[in-house]
Amino acid sequence: MSFISYLINGISLGSVYAIIALGYTMVYGIAKMLNFAHGDVIMVGAFTIFTAMGQANLPPAVAVLISIVVCTVLGVVIERIAYRPLRGTAPLAVLITAIGVSYFLQNVALLRFGANSKSFTSVVGVKPLSLANGELIITGETLVTIISGVVIVIVLTLFVRKTKPGQAMLAVSEDKDAAKLMGVNVNGTIALTFAIGSALAAIAGALLCSAYPSLSPYTGSMPGIKGFVAAVFGGIGSIPGAMIGGILLGVIEILSKAYISSQLADAIVFAVLIIVLLVKPTGILGRNINEKV
């Protein structure tokens, strides 16, 4: 029974990674850049909830909503002032700027909230589920996280496939100039992608800190990196790939912690990544783009 319980925890943690990975993968797919500040947007989202609930005494649902709005605006503003002016320049310049934005957000949080960990009150009010005569208990956080992950992937997939802005995203991701010739507002589409990615970061922050209730200015960095790894794992640019990569990563991490060593868990996760990339450099669902001239 404990194996099943570990597995479910792994899937839950993996769903958080998947939601983070979706932000990475969409931004990469469309703007062709790695937004290394993505993890820190998660942290800003979590602090927003922390402040809204702790100081303004708002109900959790309202706090989460505010956090989504704050992160969405933050994502769009970061794109507008830090990344857009660099579009068309060397990819390294954009990458370094993203790292700069990451440190900037961490240090602003450090100034405002200090370096000590805060204890985060869970936003999930769902009761734990008791199965198999109480031998298997699934927490409300776990349930909500897994359901959120599934819903988000389905909604995003439908959005990209069925809506006009979704089709515009696919067009921009393949060929910005050709998309422009179709009348697609490329800058607007990229801004929309950042908005969606950052809103997802807010949700990830709420879920992550509810399951692991400690919050500091560095809370976002490790999950951010894991989300990035999950995106690469699944095949960067692919929405179902991010989901699969995230869940695999979470399951491997939790099972390694349970059966091998909790110190080595991260090392094992990254070792698996290296092996996957050696065998299939584009990730699990990544496709090779054959260009026909």
Binding site: Q167, A171, A179, L181, V184, N290
Partner: protein, 236 residues
């Protein structure tokens, strides 16, 4: 007034001047050819007209509106469609999705459906392959898709950049026949071609470009008989 009017256009890539003060016009209903060797600046001119690259100097007026300050993505809804060099179809999307993107700026669903039917009628191959990924099409089919995609915006003016590039002679003839039919049905055409002979055969007027300036202009039939054109571009 001309449908498209380009006056004293100058375009530079960094310090290198690609277009050095060019003026030309396209009247409604015409087929205009821009011919010239590789690097003469033909593609640059088209890219500047549709806002993919900025002009350094000069004026571009389309249907009475100044395009210099118009963002690139607004131009297609004004009635100008650009079929870029190398087709640039969205290879990861299906033929149908590509065509739908061509109508991206249009709202009326039943009218879009009408246009889709018209495009399928003109290019039956596209209907046969509507659920196929565009990247799996042959070069000729991709050219048809690129043209069909442009037609989905119901353009008054169509800019065609090297439509014959990389196609077999039979397909080249087919594509040029289609261009003629499109023009007869009321679409004004601005055609950029290295295949000068073919271009001059269907064009009303032509401009001969040489390293960023217009060397010659006139009626296409007269340019065909021009000795220097014959020597330089028609291989006679």
């Amino acid at each position: 007034m001309a449908l498209l009017e380009v006056e004293n256009l100058e375009v530079a890539y960094g310090v290198i001047k690609a277009i050095k003060g060019i003026s030309f016009s396209v009247e409604e209903g015409e087929v205009i050819a821009l011919i010239g060797a590789n690097g003469a600046g033909k593609t640059t001119i088209l890219h500047t007209i549709t806002g993919l690259i900025p002009a350094n100097k000069g004026q571009i007026t389309f249907a009475g509106q100044n395009l210099n300050k118009t963002p690139g993505h607004k131009i297609v809804s004004m009635g100008m469609a650009h079929v870029p060099e190398g087709r640039r179809v969205f290879s990861q999307l299906t033929v149908y999705q590509n065509l739908k993107l061509g109508a991206y700026t249009r709202k009326n669903k039943s009218e879009i459906h009408e246009s889709l039917k018209t495009v399928y009628k003109r290019f039956p191959r596209l209907e046969e392959r509507k659920n196929q990924l565009a990247g799996t099409l042959s070069g000729g089919e991709q050219q048809m898709l690129a043209m069909g995609r442009a037609l989905m915006s119901r353009p008054k003016l169509m800019l065609l950049d090297e439509p014959s590039m990389g196609l077999s002679p039979i397909l080249v003839n087919e594509i040029f026949d289609i261009i003629k039919v499109l023009n007869e049905n009321g679409t004004t055409i601005l055609l950029v071609e290295q295949n000068a002979k073919k271009a001059l055969m269907i064009a009303d007027r032509a401009y001969v470009l040489e390293t960023g300036t217009i060397a010659l202009t006139g009626e296409a039939s007269k340019l065909m008989d021009n000795d220097s054109v014959k020597k330089a571009y028609l291989g006679e």
